[in-house]
């Protein structure tokens, strides 16, 4: 294969990774008690693609930062939250870094 064509194939292969979400935000019902919600963080941190987790009771939000080039299927996310005893109402993939979400959550607490 000529080098230009090989480079093109390589770049095309990388393309899906370039648009892959950095963070998954989940809206969760029943998220009212931090003592009871620890299971969510424990469960999500065990998933191999998880880099970080932010939980906000105020925003009824659970955010998961993904490791580079990795993803977690919705079905696995829903199962993790259900196993922790909660109900996921929406799942959204964003490019927002987890630290920005953490800062946003802290700001909302003030």
């Amino acid at each position: 294969m000529n080098p230009c064509r090989a480079l093109l194939v390589f770049l095309l292969a990388l393309a899906p990774l370039a648009v892959r979400a950095a963070t998954i935000e989940m809206h969760v019902n029943g998220l009212v008690c931090a003592f009871c919600a620890q299971g969510i963080e424990k469960k999500l941190r065990k998933l191999p693609a998880t880099a970080d987790v932010v939980v906000s009771l105020e925003d009824r939000l659970v955010a998961v930062a993904l490791k580079d080039g990795q993803d977690i299927p919705d079905v696995d996310l829903r199962k993790a939250l259900t196993d922790a005893g909660y109900t996921v109402t929406a799942i959204q993939r964003t490019e927002t870094p987890i630290d920005a979400i953490r800062a946003r959550v802290k700001q909302a607490r003030r």
């Binding site: 620890q38 299971g39 424990k42 196993d83």
Partner: protein, 217 residues
Amino acid sequence: MARLPEFLMWALVSTAPALAIGKPIAFANGTTVMIEYGAGTMQEAQIFYAPQYNYSVGGGHVEFDSDITTETVRITYARLNYLLHRWNLESAQANVYVWGGAGAATGNTFTGTEFAFNAGGQADYETRRIYASLKTDLQKANAFSIRVDTLQLGIAPYEHDYNQIATWFVVQARQYTDDIHHGTEVAALLRLFKGGAWIEAGVTNGGKLQAMAMFNF
């Protein structure tokens, strides 16, 4: 004061739909350890492991000391807790738990060791500002039948968030059968929790210490 069943019914109706005591199930693959000092009339320690979010297994030890007679009963038991139903609402959660188990009892009003069974249930409702639970727990053997009914109503002065310390002011009303305590024992409690640690302490209308510590991991 009205007897506890009427009082509980009134409290449930008047606080509905806004109606927690520590929950007997933490989360899937979670362990809960609880120690309670109940005003000198009841001391209890429990440990439960939850393979799934909706049930846990474990055991405990409870000691009842009557403040009317000289009766003392000690029971060591195994128990299964089951989450019958959970309502995950947008800004609230409600649960109904039931449990049952069996164990061995000793005491100073009977000889030897008796087989004892236990059964109970709990309904709770909580938002980030309001908390209520109703719990009943029966320990029964040939020599005794002790039921403890507990109502807790709590209010939080602020809405805590994850990784923040939570503060609750809780009023607890408790009644015992089998002459453990006469009348309704009322306690005012301060509850604090953060991460997997929960502590609460207060004083009863009889001036006695009521305290509980619970840990999830």
